[in-house]
């Protein structure tokens, strides 16, 4: 069957994809590694001079990134956001999925509602969250505040004090709270979808057996539901970690390009945000080194996740 004429035809079908992949996927992989290991590579020095500039090979870029003040902030923010939001959103999604699976009327309707955040533009809805937490006026001078914003109004209705969530002079953890809340809100739909899909394919016999033994609900949940769902849970946790380390647009949605509350720009920057800050300055060497570090982090975290799930996942 496999004659040379056939081969030639197959490559014709593949040609468009292969050409594009070579330019926009394969070359970038090679080039990123190359640039990252060329000391202080910067396209301004590379292009602007007539003679060919050569760069020494070394790990200077990595050193610069690691010494760079903003990198540690970005790493801390990214790690904190991931470590906090992934377990919380997974647990919440699991509870919602189990609840959804146990009801009949309104199940499809509620399922649709829980999917809604997925079909939104994360920057646009981030702006809505910002509006709900925003204080109109000067927070420090109560006389000058026209409204404390919806969330503060709710807090005050229950007798609490208003909090400066995202405006000038707001604290780190107030900012982080808003981000965590938004990221979880945003992460739920995909997790619920996958977990509910898993629950619906679970063999009903296990539950029947538990019913006969009149096993308490909590034990059914921890001893039957969670183990049977563990492949799906592992899947949403792994993709959650990968997505978490690439967090960027939720912060842009709420705080804007400045990646921080007014007067505190960059305080909430993430690793991806840092790469995009460096790019327009054409510091490709630095950006490449940062991207490789991000890749290494994601790779290591994913491997750890896989190892853990290998031990705990029941297939």
């Amino acid at each position: 069957m496999v004659d040379s004429k056939h081969q030639w035809k197959a490559w014709l079908y593949l040609a468009p994809a292969i050409v594009l992949l070579l330019v926009f996927t394969v070359w970038p992989i090679i080039n990123t590694v190359r640039l990252a290991f060329l000391n202080n590579y910067n396209s301004l020095t590379a292009v602007n001079q007539e003679e060919v500039v050569t760069f020494a090979v070394g790990i200077e870029n990595f050193k610069t990134v690691l010494r760079y003040d903003g990198f540690l902030t970005a790493l801390k923010n990214t790690a904190l956001l991931t470590v906090i939001t992934v377990p919380l959103s997974t647990l919440l999604a699991l509870l919602i999925a189990v609840a959804l699976n146990s009801i009949k009327p309104l199940q499809k309707f509620l399922q649709t509602i829980f999917f809604l955040p997925y079909v939104t533009n994360s920057i646009a809805i981030g702006m809505v969250f910002a509006a709900m937490f925003n204080v109109v006026g000067n927070f420090k001078i109560p006389r000058l505040v026209s409204t404390y914003g919806l969330v503060n109004n709710i807090i005050m209705f229950f007798g609490g004090d208003p909090i400066n969530w995202i405006n000038a002079g707001s604290g780190y953890w107030a900012n982080m709270f808003v981000l965590i809340f938004y990221i979880i809100w945003n992460a739920l739909p995909f997790k619920i979808l996958v977990l509910l899909g898993g629950l619906q394919s679970v063999n009903k016999q296990y539950y029947e057996a538990a019913k006969v033994d009149s096993t308490p609900r909590w034990r059914v949940f921890t001893k039957i539901t969670v183990p049977l769902l563990s492949p799906m849970i592992a899947y949403v946790v792994i993709t959650g970690f990968i997505g978490g380390f690439k967090e960027y647009s939720s912060i842009v949605g709420i705080f804007g390009n400045t990646m921080g509350a007014p007067g505190n720009e960059g305080a909430l920057n993430t690793i991806v945000g840092m790469i995009y800050d460096v790019l327009p300055k054409q510091d490709y060497g630095l950006a490449s080194a940062a991207a490789l570090i991000l890749f290494a982090i994601i790779f290591v975290v994913t491997m750890i996740n896989m190892q853990v799930s290998k031990k705990r996942v029941h297939y």
Partner: protein
């Protein structure tokens, strides 16, 4: 005999006891479950509700110390203002153009590649497929750096090309469609060969219609991606009139000083969100089945 009877009555009594307990706890758990789900649904829906009612308020009403949960008077002029402030009309057209063209081209490339990988025989097929899958592990940010450099060298900045071409090939879509194509029995292909049908004709007449649900999922995900893309257009477009809708939205309303005209901003956000909602309402099934297999947004 009497012993057995005694045991039976005891058993019955136990069962009755159980039933009574169940009769009390079951409605309670069901009510609890619904309450929990409704509370969660409320939290999910609230931002959308707030977005819409805020977009209809006057600025004065929005800034009242105690917020109103329904606008006293509906002000639709916020929408007109939002449209002109953000130059949204032009950006809507840009986004629609980029979305449609890149989806069509992407579909053609995906179908051809998936077909070759699923049906045609050539040397190195498995190696190529494995290499493709391997690229899926690398975070997209890593490609962005060199691609940024590349499009500057190609002098593509501020063109539609730069917004369309770099993302035409998605390994994930190829993978999805290849899996779908593999499920179509090979006998159909061989029969078509015997009849003298060409590969291309077979692909268009038989395989594409059979894989239509997957193709629809890919179309929607790709369109959603175009609609939501922010980072890349922000990097490669310097002229305002070449940007996409999300960039226009974020840049036109980038003031976080607290004195923003929120009703107008919320009107803009509503305008940008509405098309996705409409698509979702009509094509929910395809979106959800596509998403559950992908794990990526857009």
């Amino acid at each position: 005999m009497s012993e057995k009877k005694a045991f039976n009555t005891m058993h019955d009594r136990n069962m009755q006891h159980m039933n009574l307990l169940q009769r009390i706890t079951k409605p309670l758990t069901i009510t609890g479950t619904y309450l929990f789900l409704f509370a969660m649904a409320l939290i999910i829906l609230f931002p959308f509700y707030w977005m819409i009612i805020s977009s209809l308020k006057t600025l004065a009403e929005y800034r009242e110390a105690v917020p109103t949960f329904w606008p006293r008077a509906m002000i639709f002029s916020n929408y007109a203002e939002a449209f002109s402030t953000g130059n949204l009309g032009r950006l809507f057209l840009n986004t629609a153009y980029v979305g449609v063209v890149s989806t069509i081209l992407s579909l053609v490339i995906t179908v051809l590649t998936a077909f070759a990988l699923a049906r045609l025989e050539f040397k190195g097929k498995n190696a190529l497929f494995a290499a493709l899958l391997a690229t899926m592990m690398i975070p997209g940010e890593l490609f962005t750096i060199t691609n940024y450099q590349t499009v500057i060298n190609f002098k593509w900045m501020d063109t539609y090309t730069v917004l369309i071409v770099p993302f035409l090939v998605s390994v994930f879509y190829i993978y999805l469609l290849r899996q779908n194509f593999m499920q179509i029995p090979n006998e159909l292909y061989l029969a078509a060969k015997v009849d003298g049908t060409s590969d291309l004709k077979y692909l268009i007449k038989v395989m594409v219609p059979l894989a239509l649900p997957t193709l629809i999922s890919i179309t929607i995900l790709k369109m959603m991606g175009a609609w939501n893309s922010y980072v890349w257009p922000n990097l490669v477009t310097k002229k305002d009139e070449m940007q996409l809708i999300t960039n226009g939205l974020r840049n036109a309303f980038n003031d976080t000083s607290g004195n923003t005209n929120y009703p107008v901003q919320m009107a803009a956000v509503t305008l940008v969100s509405a098309p996705l909602f409409l698509v979702f309402l009509f094509l929910r099934k395809y979106i959800m089945s596509g998403v559950s297999r992908s794990g990526i947004k857009g």
